[in-house]
Amino acid sequence: MKIMIVDDSTMMRKVIERALRQAGMNLTEVIQANNGLEALDFLRESVGSEPAFDLILSDINMPTMDGLEFVERRKQEGLALGVPVVMITTEGSSPHVMRALAAGAKGYICKPFTADQIKACVTPLLNAA
């Protein structure tokens, strides 16, 4: 499984990857992006390759380009629209949830989280993809 983790914290990207592996995910490649703009660049570079990614997990609060703008721009540019995007963030409030879902995010996980919570959110999305 090829995934992309979008978070400005190197520590959190490690924690998320570890939680996914603890949840039993077989990660063959993990692309790490520091913010939404880097993530968009990775998606643009992967145009034409199938599958670009199996899953994208993104924080919301990031400098340069936040996670909400990332999912909105991804939708506008039609990049990897078949790849499920899950927001992992401390911003679990309704306005943020609604905006992310409206922009095409498929799931939402609030920090702090457990490996089981990630698995419960991600597994149905991967099965449906």
Partner: protein
């Protein structure tokens, strides 16, 4: 310690803001889930004028309240916390430790406001700031509310403060 500096408590949300139980639950949740370590509440242990190197990680709060969520730790405690979170042994204050402390404080702020329905959707969080040093003091304008608790993590101690004004 939890105090309201001025005015009368006029709403449920104000009493919730200064209720230390929400902060205690938040700290236990964040440290239990993300670091995998238990914490216990203790009396304040980081004294003014302490010359041991310390780190202060801060998250700004804006919206229905304006203020700061801050975690104050000694270097050894900060290194230990970051090591627990990273799942590896760390030996010095470096970018990983600073990053980890910032993220822990970020989660504390987010999880705390999520426990108070009036704040959950109406308070935004800033990106983390971490200050390090051996002799410094933090000066702030007199806040309307102030919640401070100290905790024990193994052999280490740390303090979490949330303070500001209510709009």
């Amino acid at each position: 310690m939890a105090t309201v500096m001025d005015g009368e408590l006029a709403s449920v949300s104000v009493s919730k803001v200064i209720n230390p139980v929400y902060l205690d639950e938040t700290v236990e949740e964040v440290f239990g889930l993300m670091l995998g370590v238990p914490v216990e509440v203790v009396e304040g242990v980081l004294q003014a004028g302490d010359e041991t190197a310390t780190m202060t990680a801060m998250i700004g709060l804006a919206g229905a309240i304006s203020g700061t969520c801050a975690m104050l730790v000694r270097s050894e405690a900060g290194i230990h916390m970051a090591g627990c979170m990273a799942g590896m042994e760390l030996t010095a204050v470096d970018e990983t430790v600073l990053d980890g402390l910032g993220e822990i404080t970020n989660m504390l702020a987010g999880a705390w406001k999520a426990k108070i329905p009036e704040l959950h959707g109406s308070v935004m969080l800033s990106v983390p700031t971490v200050v390090t040093g051996t002799q410094y003091e933090v000066h702030r304008k007199e806040p309307v509310f102030f919640v401070e608790r100290s905790y024990k993590l193994g052999e280490h101690f740390f303090t979490v403060r949330i303070y500001g004004v209510i709009h």
